[in-house]
Amino acid sequence: MLRVFFALLAGLFGAALLHLVIILALPHFTGRDAATRVEAEGDPNNFYLLTGRYDEAGLANGDPFVRTAVCSFDVGEDPVHFTAKGNVPFWSIAIYDSASNEIFSMNDRTSVGGALDVLAAGPIQLTDLRKNLPQELEQTIMVEMAHAEGYAVLRTLAPQASFDEAARAFLTEAGCEELDAR
């Protein structure tokens, strides 16, 4: 009888250990986290607009008034330059790493002239850039990516239907291009 009790106790201990391992390891294995879905949208370095309905990758705007565009990127080779401008009441961008942790976010209030101008780069690329900064990057906000892969989410609001056109233009013309350095 005592042995059964010990077996159960060892089992419970194992359950707790397994639970811990599952919770800690799960983020790496789900295959349906946001980073995987953004990569499934299409080619990297391209902003893909989302709609009110879930698309094949499983992403949607999520809010009837928000218009979203997502872009997956990899700064391993070259830094990535995010640009956008338009006549919209509000825009915001957030950059996440491949584990969907937020690296950086900003909205148009802290932008220069209401235009989006952000550069994501690895630490070594940033040091190189800062040494000789090209003129077009003088007012660019630099974001350091500890790991090369990540994705960016660009959002704008269309509080009424008449703002839809401007929101669509803003997102369509947004750029997520690799910077041809040198």
């Binding site: 986290d33 009837p64 915001s92």
Partner: protein, 195 residues
């Protein structure tokens, strides 16, 4: 002779079965531990950051949603009213008051997964800070019911439980350590059925 393997079997079954069941239960029951709750409204300001607890990160990885960054906005979800009862489409609710400071906000009725509720095309399912009708002191009152109401009205699906999602854009609320001073609008139940 079979006792020893039997004990090992018991141990393994309890370990694997128990471990998996507790994990699934924990992931479905909560969204992690970092929630702030203001009345009926609940938000997770750190869910998208690296500081989220492991449960939150697992939940985030399974749900696969695009979350708002700290400088983007903060989403508050109400699944119960101010008195703690589950929001039900058979009842009539009223939101009244002010939101914490934010440049813009949006409010929509959602299903239990947080997705905008699918209603008939012509029914108002969402409001934002630009379209809401306000009192002279800039507070507002929003009626939420299946039947049309004058003033601000949000439609509901015919039956079932639902949630309300209020998203504040460009708000200091997300990083606010003075959460105590924030006041969210009140969410009260006016009556159920034809009451």
């Amino acid at each position: 002779m079979f006792r020893f393997p039997l004990f090992i079997l018991i141990t393994l079954i309890v370990a694997f079965g128990g471990g998996i069941m507790i994990s699934l239960y924990a992931l479905d029951a909560t969204q992690g531990f970092g929630a702030i709750k203001l009345g009926a409204w609940e938000a997770f300001p750190e869910l998208q950051t690296v500081d989220a607890d492991p449960y939150a990160k697992s939940h985030r990885a399974r749900a696969g949603k695009l979350l708002y960054g700290s400088a983007e906005g903060l989403t508050f979800t109400a699944s119960v009213d101010d008195s703690g009862e589950r929001l039900n489409a058979a009842c009539h609710y009223r939101i009244s008051g002010q939101t914490p400071p934010a440049r813009l906000w949006t409010l929509f009725t959602a299903d239990n997964a947080g997705n905008p509720a699918s209603l008939q095309q012509a029914l108002p399912a969402a409001l934002n800070s630009w379209t809401v009708l306000r009192q002279p002191d800039s507070s507002f009152t929003i009626d939420i019911a299946t039947r049309a109401e004058p003033g601000n009205w949000l439609a509901l699906p015919q039956a079932g439980t639902f949630r309300l999602v209020l998203t504040l854009f460009d708000t200091p609320t997300a990083g606010s350590s003075g959460v105590i001073d924030l006041s969210m609008p009140k969410l009260t139940k006016i009556g159920c059925g034809n009451a």
